[in-house]
């Protein structure tokens, strides 16, 4: 048990250390969500105007952008596994007296912590986009973001365990990230789109994460106003969405542990 715990914390510690000592990466990781918000929000706000429930497009997109930042950061957390394999540092980790599952958990925890940091930074924008924030909202948001991040970091490590190279991993990631973002209700509600898109969106677990973040930030009435996610006519509650993402997350992290430890 100590080998699991020690592995998890030492790996997470080092990933965080790498993140905070790399200012460029810190800044770069925030530009993408901000660009999305500025360009799409600015471009659409005049065209679309007010949406159901009295929210405008920027308010609608803002929670989605937060979820999108979590998605990108968490998935790309797996890149450190591939990079460590290429630089040789993975071997230093693998020969240490720590468990493989602990290492995977450490990668997941590290990515989740980085994602959470980014979310907190993006929350500073809430007044600018006209989303009211209070302490309770922020406290509710934390477990939602953590759950979503764990699931996606698990997926990232799972893919990284099979990726032959950093380039291969990144290609696979972008192939995954774009459909996951665009079919997750970040930019538009997923209930009023062509059927094929709607089906794909509702299979995409990120959709429920995006909607959960939205329900926390904009209040649960947006779901009632037709901006939420319904499955076969049933309107998902916040708790149900988080639980769903959590179950998928456990499965993904377990698969990642298996995949990462399989050659030992």
């Amino acid at each position: 048990m100590t080998e699991l715990y020690r592995g998890a914390w030492v790996v997470a510690y080092r990933d965080l250390l790498n993140y905070v000592s790399d200012r460029f990466r810190m800044v770069a990781s925030l530009t993408f969500p901000l660009l999305f918000l500025a360009i799409f929000g600015g471009g659409f706000s005049d065209v679309i105007g007010r949406m159901a429930g009295g929210v405008d497009i920027v308010q609608f997109m803002y929670p989605g952008i937060i979820a999108q930042a979590v998605l990108t950061t968490s998935l790309f957390g797996g890149v450190s596994v591939v990079a460590d394999r290429e630089t040789g540092f993975l071997r230093e980790i693998l020969v240490a007296p720590v468990s493989r599952t602990g290492i995977v958990l450490g990668k997941v925890v590290g990515a989740t912590a980085v994602a959470l940091l980014q979310v907190l930074m993006l929350l500073l924008l809430a007044p600018v986009v006209g989303v009211p924030l209070d302490a309770l909202t922020v406290l509710t948001l934390v477990p939602v973001v953590v759950t979503l991040s764990i699931a996606l970091a698990g997926l990232g490590v799972l893919i990284a365990s099979f990726a032959p190279s950093r380039e291969g991993f990144q290609t696979a990631m972008w192939m995954l990230v774009f459909p996951m973002i665009f079919l997750a209700g970040v930019f538009f509600p997923v209930d009023r789109i062509p059927l094929w898109m709607e089906v794909l969106s509702k299979i995409n677990p990120v959709t429920y994460g995006v909607d959960a973040v939205r329900q926390v930030l904009l209040g649960s009435q947006v779901a009632g106003a037709g901006l939420g996610v319904t499955v076969l006519g049933y309107s998902m509650t916040l708790v149900q969405e988080v639980a769903l993402v959590g179950v998928i997350g456990v499965a993904l992290v377990a698969s990642a542990s298996w995949a990462f430890g399989r050659d030992a």
Binding site: T2, E3, R6, G7, W9, V10, Y13, R14, L17, N18, S21, D22, D84, T87, G88, F89, L90, R91, E92, I93, L94, V95, A96, P97, V98, A264
Partner: protein, 345 residues
């Protein structure tokens, strides 16, 4: 003038279980260890023991199975046959205990070059559960030992190859291992750095009674080991002290150049009762004591001598005698002529 040594008589036991025993109790005990990769047997039925405090070398060309063996002993590769214990722990069933008892320096660097020297060491201390009260003192001590104390806050990215290697040795010792494994520790380093690394190792051994297990294909490094196992194509072909290995293959080698090699060879055969061989116009033969034989030879030999060479046997000759091939891969110039069986492991 090139000197050919293929005429050494084979007197060594080519028995694959050739074992000289360590002087002290065994800390590494390997029995019939094998590793197969698909159809290829990279390590075949290897048996040896390493005593506590010994510097033990694995000598062989690239692809001989050195790295595969070290990886099995370090628990990162499962053997497909046989057993091995390190520090009394089984390398398959007690991996955690083995890992805590060993320090490792791999052939390729395994540092995080985005972190500083100190951060790399601290990561290692955390990963191995080094208690907090001794951690910082240990880090200071080791950074001093490898002369990197002043660079402790620098990112590893800016370090030279030699500095990285020294840092890795320091890191490998941080959790006070009983055995330090070094896989080609000085590969690609310049001669001065190589010498320095050997000095650190000698110090550590004296101060801490550390056991060192290393692989190398440098003869001068193998010379510094207490005992060496010569490994070729996955099997140990000889195991003994460097002195014993060299003396087992016979005496010194003398090579002469004369105007008429054939006549010279026949005179050497008849007058001195030796067995010369002629290669490229040069005549080589072996005598027990080259230093005392030569003056007598120069005085009595009747043909005009153009050049004389005297050479004591080297581990290269040992390898050549045992395998019929040369080991060398001469330091960094990448020429691998003569080592036809190269197989990277």
């Amino acid at each position: 003038m090139s000197i050919h040594t293929s005429d050494y008589t084979v007197e060594l036991t080519s028995d694959k279980h050739a074992t000289s025993e360590p002087a002290r109790p065994a800390i590494i005990d390997v029995r019939a260890l094998s590793r197969r990769f698909g159809p290829v047997e990279a390590v075949h039925d290897v048996t040896f023991r390493v005593g506590e405090g010994e510097v033990f070398g694995f000598l062989g060309p690239n692809g001989a199975g050195k790295t595969t063996t070290i990886h099995m002993l370090c628990t990162i590769l499962r053997p497909t046959g046989g057993q091995a214990t390190v520090g009394g722990f089984d390398v398959v069933d007690q991996r955690g205990d083995v890992r805590r008892s060993i320090g490792l320096v791999f052939q390729q660097t395994t540092l995080d070059d985005a972190l500083t020297a100190e951060q790399n060491l601290r990561f290692h201390a955390y990963a191995y559960g080094v208690p907090a009260d001794v951690r910082e003192r240990r880090i200071d001590e080791l950074l001093n030992l490898v002369e990197l104390a002043e660079r402790r806050g620098d990112r590893v990215r800016v370090f030279s190859g030699g500095m990285k290697r020294r840092l890795e040795i320091a890191r490998g010792l941080l959790h006070r291992p009983r055995v330090l494994f070094l896989d080609e520790p000085t590969l690609g380093l310049d001669p001065q750095t190589r010498r320095r690394i050997w000095e650190y190792l000698a110090q550590l051994r004296e101060r801490e009674g550390l056991t060192v297990f290393m692989t190398t294909h440098y003869m001068d490094e193998a010379e510094q080991c207490d005992r060496i196992a010569v490994i070729d194509q996955g099997s140990i072909v000889a195991l003994d002290t460097p002195v014993a290995l060299k003396s087992a293959i016979g005496g010194d080698l003398i090579t002469i150049a004369t105007g008429d090699a054939t006549a010279a060879a026949s005179e050497i055969r008849e007058r001195y009762r030796l067995s010369p061989i002629v290669t490229d116009g040069a005549v080589s033969f072996q005598v027990a004591e080259g230093g005392t034989f030569l003056p007598e030879f120069v005085r009595t030999f009747t043909q005009p001598l153009e050049a004389i060479g005297l050479r004591h046997p080297t581990l290269d000759d040992v390898f050549l005698t045992l395998t019929g091939r040369q080991i060398r891969d001469d330091a960094g110039n990448g020429s691998q002529s003569g080592s036809k069986g190269d197989r990277h492991d």
